[in-house]
Symmetry: C2
Subunit: 452 residues, 2 copies
């Protein structure tokens, strides 16, 4: 079923041009964690907006600037798009098939760091707008873009920015930065995001690394201190041991369970794709696995570093050791609570020497599955994908949706071009071109439907 | 008191030339752990030997070759020097004051990777030989050098090499690769070395790193598995928890305690030099600290690596995690015993997924403090340093002295140019030129005394 043949033919005819525009954006590195190319990428993003007649400015946040854009349309209703121009670090380089910032097209896919997360969403939405402007000469409704530069580093400044710019950002609904299809090609609707609290834990026990033959028996060892401290955070049954961590959390509702029940089986897919041999906690498959995946808080070690890490052996007692740890939060946990409880716990366990460096976070937030805007996103998706979107009441991932839901009061829907092998946050990130086109169609249809 | 004025004046007059020769040797990288420049350094070492009329050959070991050299002398007694031409890795580069392989002379010190450990000992001993040849036209006794290339990576092939070449290596006594003065400028005589067993423990839980929002709640995490496994190896009271680890170990004798009692206080020195705030196990100072330093087995984490380690945050579940761990062994522990008990222990604790990669090791060995050769080394040291050597019955460090003591049956004495700030195995390794000269004098005196 083709709903808007003119929009469709525009998008098919101009796809190459949009992929080229995306390639330009991906070729501009913007690794927030490494402060690499951030301003350059913000300016390039703004240039793409201005080309479409959007009033655009770079707004200071205290960190990387926000690119804010708006253009009026015929109807006085406003749709807000949230995107981000920053990307994850490209490491580990040795696992990359092609250089991360030299977009490479092969097998119907475009490879490059940030191609899916999130630059493809910026250009595909602009592509949808191009189609609408081509057909109607104007936008059917007001459109705003808020494109931040700190999503991959915890959106540290965004909540304050949103709260301070409520009038500027005022809208009727919001489309989030990501979305996509599952391994059965069914588009997914994520109605909420877990919160996150990302910390670096570090221990310093000496000024310099010491020969392990000297210090091994009598000096404190930073790596051992770190291992022992980490070990107090979570037991081998994956139970987080920080007192109070599970207090006040909101368990899934009956409606949540129903929605989770409708989702497809993922266990085999996960095992094959990631090469994992088992799930933790004795989980095997089914709705229990899916509920565990998102409705429980986590404490994940994302990185460990200490001492000698090269080939072979080096006999040192490391002066410093550190771990990157992220906590995924479910409603009603807050990063403030996590940080406070973590400090108290480490102190009580005798680890006053373990420093906590907060690297960003925010609480979880969700949109009502029965909101009319969600229905509209589902209806237009059905026109494009030919199947019904599957509703996921809460995503395992995180993002700064809290201020959009709770401060701006918006229903927030997800839509995007992701697919299971898109490798966001991993080597060889890629998008499928066919899904890029579908997302642009979906967004063009949605904007049109939203205006009337 | 000047014992041999002609030897002394030769050494003083030709010091610059020997330092230049050392600089050439240091400028040739030879990082065994990274297989960097090994053969080139072996050949350069052989060239230095041949220049002095030593019959020299590179002998295969299965790994880096051994440089073996010998030259006959007037008396039919043989002194064997054990040295090594390989060096520790130069990392961490960001802490280096000058490039590791560009020797830099400042403040009466020569800086560079390997300058003390062990290249300075090779050239200073050749310098002593130059002085003897200059004075006598021939060597007063037979001299052999065995200079290996795998000392810093656990001397994996050396014990077999020694056992297979007992006739070639036959001697009456052996001078070890290192030695030096303590913080009171007193030269030290190490009569033994702890053994070592160096392993890499690694866990792989997936084929690729996974977005932590996906895998965090349901996938096994390699970094957590590693932390939990490590935590079972040693408790916070530094007690090694591997069953059988403390079986059969030989405690210090009454003579050992007497010798340790005579050693100077080191606690303040250690705290100031390394910036450590306390000693483990409630130790504070005195003979108890010194005995703990060397007479107990250790389990030291030398390095940790997993996942994202760059600046800022990256939300990944790491596919792989690994730790470099070394055990220091006291008599009668063996690496074979440690490896076997470690595997059994990890299996019993549920860590069959933790792989053990043995990176090298050997048992501890000691020489009798009352051996006549030790007395000779002490007597000649007194002539050079003006004070009595302090006898340390066992060193905290390790080395392949076991086959020299037990297969060749040699008394093994230590002598060298080290001092407390020499930074072996750490950034900015250096030697003091005055101690370099003293060591050369000591070796010239010793060879002369040894021959008569």
């Amino acid at each position: 079923m083709v709903a808007y043949p003119d929009l469709d033919s525009y998008l098919e005819d101009n796809l190459d041009q949009s992929i080229y525009e995306l390639s330009r954006l991906v070729a501009q590195p913007s690794v927030g964690a490494q402060n690499l190319g951030m301003l350059e990428c913000a300016e390039l993003t703004a240039e793409l907006m201005r080309k479409r007649g959007f009033e655009t400015r770079l707004m200071p946040t205290g960190g990387a600037p926000v690119v804010f854009s708006e253009r009026k349309g015929s109807k006085n209703k406003t749709l807000l798009f949230y995107c981000h121009y920053d990307v994850q670090p490209a490491e580990p380089f040795d696992l990359l098939e092609t250089p991360p910032f030299e977009p490479s097209l092969r097998d119907g896919k475009l490879f490059g760091r940030g191609v899916s997360d999130d630059k493809g969403h910026i250009t595909s939405r602009l592509f949808a707008i191009d189609a609408l402007l081509d057909q109607f000469g104007e936008l059917p409704c007001n459109i705003k873009f808020i494109i931040e530069g700190e999503e991959e580093t915890g959106s540290i400044h965004l909540p304050d920015f949103v709260r301070k710019n409520k009038e500027l950002l005022a809208a009727d609904a919001c489309i989030w930065e990501f979305g996509g299809v599952d391994h059965e090609e069914t588009p997914l609707q994520y109605l909420g995001l877990r919160g996150i609290c990302y910390v670096e834990l570090s221990v310093t026990t000496a000024q310099i690394d010491v020969h392990s033959g000297l210090g091994g028996s009598i000096f404190p060892n930073s790596a051992w201190r770190l291992v022992w401290a980490l070990n107090t955070l979570k037991d081998q049954n994956e139970r987080i041991l920080i007192p109070g961590h599970y207090d006040n959390i909101v368990p899934p509702t009956e409606r949540d369970r129903q929605l989770m029940q409708l989702l497809p089986e993922t266990s085999t897919e996960y095992k094959n794709r990631y090469g994992i041999k088992y799930f933790i906690n004795g989980l095997t498959d089914g709705v229990d696995l899916r509920i565990a995946e998102v409705f429980q808080p986590t404490c994940t070690i994302c990185g460990l570093t200490s001492g000698y890490q090269g080939p072979g052996s080096k006999t040192v007692l490391p002066a410093k050791a550190s771990a990157k740890v992220n906590f995924r939060l479910i409603p009603n946990q807050t990063p403030e609570q996590i940080l406070k409880q973590l400090r108290t716990h480490l102190d009580n366990e005798g680890f006053q020497d373990v420093e906590i460096n907060f690297l960003g976070g925010g609480p979880a937030a969700r949109t009502d599955p029965d909101d009319p805007f969600i229905k509209m996103v589902l209806d237009t998706a059905r026109q494009v994908y030919g199947v019904e979107m599957k509703i996921i009441p809460l995503s395992g991932g995180s993002g700064p949706n809290y201020p959009f839901v709770h401060d701006l009061g918006l229903p927030v829907a997800t839509a995007g071009m992701g697919y299971p092998d898109t490798r966001g946050h991993a080597p060889n990130e890629n998008i499928r071109i066919d899904l890029y086109l579908k997302h642009a169609r979906h967004m063009a249809y949605l904007i049109k439907a939203f205006a009337y």
